[in-house]
Every structure is written in C-alpha cells, then in structure tokens.
C-alpha cells in the first residue's frame, strides 16, 4: 500500500512515525521482506560527513554609520577575502578562500592552516571575527574604510549556501608515480602505496535514492547540525553516467546544492579543513530523509556497500591531465575492509569521509523525526534525471585571437 508524505507527516506529528537509518534498514528488510517493511517503515534517514569544497556562506553584515558600500570594494573576515560583487552590505565567503599573505604552495606542500572554511567554523561557534573593508566612497555611502569585530548574531543574515555537496559516488584515488603527491584526496604515497576514498557508501543520501524519486528541490534536510533545504541540483550534476542493475551510478553522478540558516547550525557539523598541499575547505554534515512511499523506494534504500562500485583513478597523471584511464573498479565493501587488491598489489585504504559521523547524522535525523521535531517536505520540482540528457561538460578551450576575428 502506497503512502503519501502528508500521511507520514501526520504520523510524525503524532509521534508514531517508524524511522530507521539507511544502515539499519538493510537488515530489517532482509529479515521482514520488502512488502512488510514498506508497510511498516515511514522514513529512512541517510547521512554523510566529508570535506565538501564547493561550500560557502553569504552574510548581510548590517549598515555602518556613516554608511560604507562594500560592493565593488574589498572585504576581509579574519584576513580571508570575501566576495564583494553584491550590494552595500552583502558578502559571500567561499570555503576555499585564503588570506592574501598565505604562503600557499610556495613551500610545497603548503599547510593551509586558515581559510574560508575556518572562518565559517569560527562564526558558527559564536566567535567574533574581524571585518576589515575598504571602499571607494560615494555620495550616499561616503565611508572608505571599516574595521570592526563582528559576531554571527549581529548579522542580519548568515546563510550557508553550498553549490555542490553530497556527491553521488566519487573517484577513489591512487598515485602510480614514484613520488608522494598531495591532493584533495589526501596524501598519496608513490607506486600505489595507499588508496583513498571519500563517500559514506550505503549511508550516503543519493545512493539511497539513486533516481531522485523523493529528493528534489525543496527537500528539507539536516545541514551542518541544523535544518536546511535542497536548493537546486548541485553543480556538475551528471545523472546520465553508467549504472548497475540496481540503479547505482558507477562513477560521480548526482550532486546537491543546499541552503540553510547558518545561525542555527553547529561547529560540530561544520569543521574547517586544511588539506595539505591543496588548500582550505569545509567538512560538512548532510543528512537527507527518504519517505518510504512505496516498495520501490524502500528497495533503493537497502543498497549495501557491496552494491556500490567506484573507479580507481591515478591522481599523479590521469586525473590532472584529464585522461579517461581507470586503474580498477572496486566496491565500498572492499574499500572499507581496510585493504584492496589492485593489479596483484595489496593496498591499504583510508577514508576521507567519516563513516561514524555519517551514522551519527542519520541517527540524529532519525531522533528528530521520531520526536516530531522534523517534518518532511515534498519536493517542489525534481532533480534532473538521466532522461534530461544533462551531462557534465569539460572546458573546451578556444584561442582568444580567433574569437576577435569573428
């Protein structure tokens, strides 16, 4: 018997909703069967906690007296530059932003101790940050310089807005060269000395709804310890990649753009990250509830690590040179065992994404729903699926001289 989101919400309000995590649902369904479980269970919760680089936040810092027009000027939060291409008091800060005087990779590998992700963590933690800005001055906004401490509570708006999070599957990284490399997938030892992966696998949101049947624009989610919403498909959303029989994409596919009020989030679930030799970023906690509307939707949530394949890519050559070569295909069950055999070599694995924290997120979301504190939303529009024809394009460079002749 099919359910509706409204019916599920009635049960949540009455404190009667039956909720399990995407990990727990695997054994429950195995025991009780699809039919009975689909009748009994209302919601399955997912979670992921990993470094998600395309994250950021926008702020309205309020108007100074006399007024200053930050738009078109320069602004820094704890020395990290924020984007000022918006109006007088709005700023956008990306997780990868670095102070102008950060040495970056001048001495390789750079440490990247403090950047945009760390500013976001400091703000969420309630710490004061230094706002320093210069402007060109206008008749209505005469001020040219501003230096002040500011706290997230003083701001009109502080909104986390991540343009690409929660990747549905991701590359697994190795290094086939003969020297250590420092990548966004971590430190990779020479001659395939280690193999790094970054997905919560069977708990990851989009693996549990591979065809985006319930997750869409407007879906209410756990975001950074508070609540947020799916705003749009994430950048690089690429639903048309090859899939297994069960619909699981075999390489990076769907992504989510998410949004939420930063003021109600927590530094426990938004952690500034320093990626050696690569840059600064933000570790983000995302959890998405999946309403069990019918047996098909339940079936998708029973995906296990053994069902999920990922491509092993050489980050010394194939990745930077954008070559299509794949070293091997492995399952998340193999990766999580701690060692995988590739080309006859026994390679130790390491995760970039925290599985225990993903479990915690799915569990918190489950408790919120059980306690009647978190209602589900129906999406207002679906995410583009494979049928949309949407595909991930690479940059085709064109010489600028030719363009001028046209």
């Amino acid at each position: 018997m099919a359910k509706t989101i409204d019916e599920i919400n009635e049960k949540i309000k009455a404190g009667r909703a039956v909720v399990f995590t995407a990990e727990e649902i695997i054994d429950i369904t195995r025991e009780k069967g699809i039919k009975r479980t689909a009748q009994e269970v209302d919601v399955v919760t997912t979670g992921t906690f990993g470094i998600m680089c395309s994250s950021g936040a926008y702020f309205n810092v309020g108007h100074a007296k006399p007024r200053i027009k930050l738009g078109g000027g320069r602004a820094y939060l704890n020395d990290v530059p924020a984007y000022t291409g918006l109006a007088a008091a709005d700023l956008f800060l990306g997780a990868n932003a670095l102070p102008d005087d950060d040495p970056r990779n001048r001495v390789h590998p750079g440490e990247f101790n403090y950047g945009g992700g760390h500013v976001i963590e400091d703000l969420v933690a309630g710490r004061d940050v230094r706002l320093v800005a210069t402007a060109y001055g206008t008749d209505c906004y005469p001020r040219k310089h501003l230096e002040t401490l500011i706290n997230i509570q003083d701001m009109n708006e502080a909104v986390l807005f991540n343009v690409r999070n929660a990747y549905q599957n991701y590359n697994v990284a190795v290094n086939l060269s003969d020297k250590t490399i420092y990548t966004y997938m971590g430190v990779l030892k020479p001659k395939m000395g280690n193999i790094n992966y970054s997905s919560a696998g069977q708990l990851s949101p989009l693996f549990n709804d591979p065809y985006y049947k319930t997750i869409g624009i407007g879906t209410r989610i756990f975001l950074g310890g508070g609540t947020g919403y799916v705003a749009w498909q994430g950048t690089q959303h690429n639903p048309g990649v090859p899939r297994t029989e069960k619909g699981v994409p075999k390489s990076g596919a769907g992504t989510l753009a998410v949004i939420g009020d930063l003021k109600q989030m927590s530094p426990r679930w938004l952690v500034g990250a320093s990626v050696l030799g690569y840059g600064c970023s933000l570790t983000v906690g995302v959890g998405v509830p999946i309403p069990i509307l019918n047996e098909e939707i339940l079936q998708y949530t029973t995906v296990t690590d053994a069902d999920i394949y990922a491509q092993v890519i050489d980050y010394a050559d194939a990745y930077p040179q954008r070559k299509p070569d794949i070293v091997a295909e492995v399952t998340y069950a193999e990766l999580k065992s701690g060692r995988v055999k590739i080309k006859g070599k026994d390679v130790p694995t390491a995760s970039r994404s925290s599985y225990p924290k993903a479990v915690e997120i799915a569990t918190i979301l489950k408790e919120w729903i059980r306690a009647g504190k978190f209602l589900l939303t129906a999406s207002v529009a679906p995410l583009p699926g494979a049928e949309s024809g949407m595909a991930f394009k690479s940059l085709q460079e064109r010489p600028i001289e030719n363009e001028q002749e046209v």
């Binding site: 440490e111 280690n194 952690v271 970023s281 999580k336 701690g338 130790p348 390491a350 995760s351 994404s353």
Partner: protein, 136 residues
C-alpha cells in the same frame, strides 16, 4: 629482564658535542634505534630513541643520562589527539609509518595507539581538522 622503551631525550646546548649515546652502548650494553633526531651544534638537541636492554642496565643507563643533564620524557606524552576536533575520517591511517592509527571494524572509529607512535609528525599537517598535536 629485558625492556624496550621509547623515550624522548632533550640535550642542553652544552652537551650536544658529547658522545652520549655511544656511552649507553659501550657502558650499559643497550641497543638503540634512533626514531628521530634533531641535533645542531650550539642549540638544544632532541632525540627520539627506542632503547632496549636488560632492566638493571637500562635503569643505570637512564640514571647516567639524567646525571649528565639530559631531560627524559616518555614518548607517548608528546603526540596527542584532540578528541573534540577529530572527525574520525581516517586520513591518518595510511599516513602513519608505524601503524599507530587503526580502524575499529565495528564502530569504524579511528583508534590512536600512542604506544606505537614514533613522533615523526607526519600526521600533524595531514590531518584535515588539525586534531593531532605534538608537544615537543
């Protein structure tokens, strides 16, 4: 009884040009393995050693070091994990050359065994949330 311990030795400036370790081998028959050393003339030196030998001789050797003015600290105290910051991602597991980090297969939490730590410091910058701290 044989013992094997990992210790941190701190040499004051004036001692850096004296053959201290040589005496440990020669006079106390101790076996040593240098895990890390930073000795520069005219500056304080730090050496991380694994020291093996007979318990009685080991104790005498340590007494000799202390008398000579070397400060001694057990290694485990020097590298710690800030539990508040650790996200248990696992980035450290394959970075560590001595296997001090391991994954609990059941909880999937990362266990840090500082008995195995050789204080090389490789995990310090490789930890994305900067949870590993060294206190040399």
């Amino acid at each position: 009884m044989a013992v094997s311990k990992r210790i941190v030795l701190r040499f004051p400036k004036r001692m850096v040009d004296r053959p201290i370790i040589y005496r440990l081998v020669k006079d106390y028959d101790l076996e040593f393995n240098i895990l890390k050393a930073s000795i520069t003339p005219e500056q304080e030196g730090v050496m991380v050693l694994e020291l093996k030998g007979n318990q009685a001789e080991y104790d005498k050797g340590i007494e000799f070091l202390l008398k000579a003015g070397v400060k001694i600290q057990s290694l485990g105290q020097d590298v710690t994990r800030n539990e508040e910051r650790c996200t248990h991602c696992g980035a450290c597991v394959t970075i560590c050359p001595s296997g001090a980090f391991r994954l609990d297969p059941k909880t999937r939490l990362i266990i840090f065994d500082n008995e195995k730590c050789i204080a090389c410091g490789l995990c310090i910058p490789a930890c994305p949330p900067h949870a590993m701290e060294v206190h040399f």
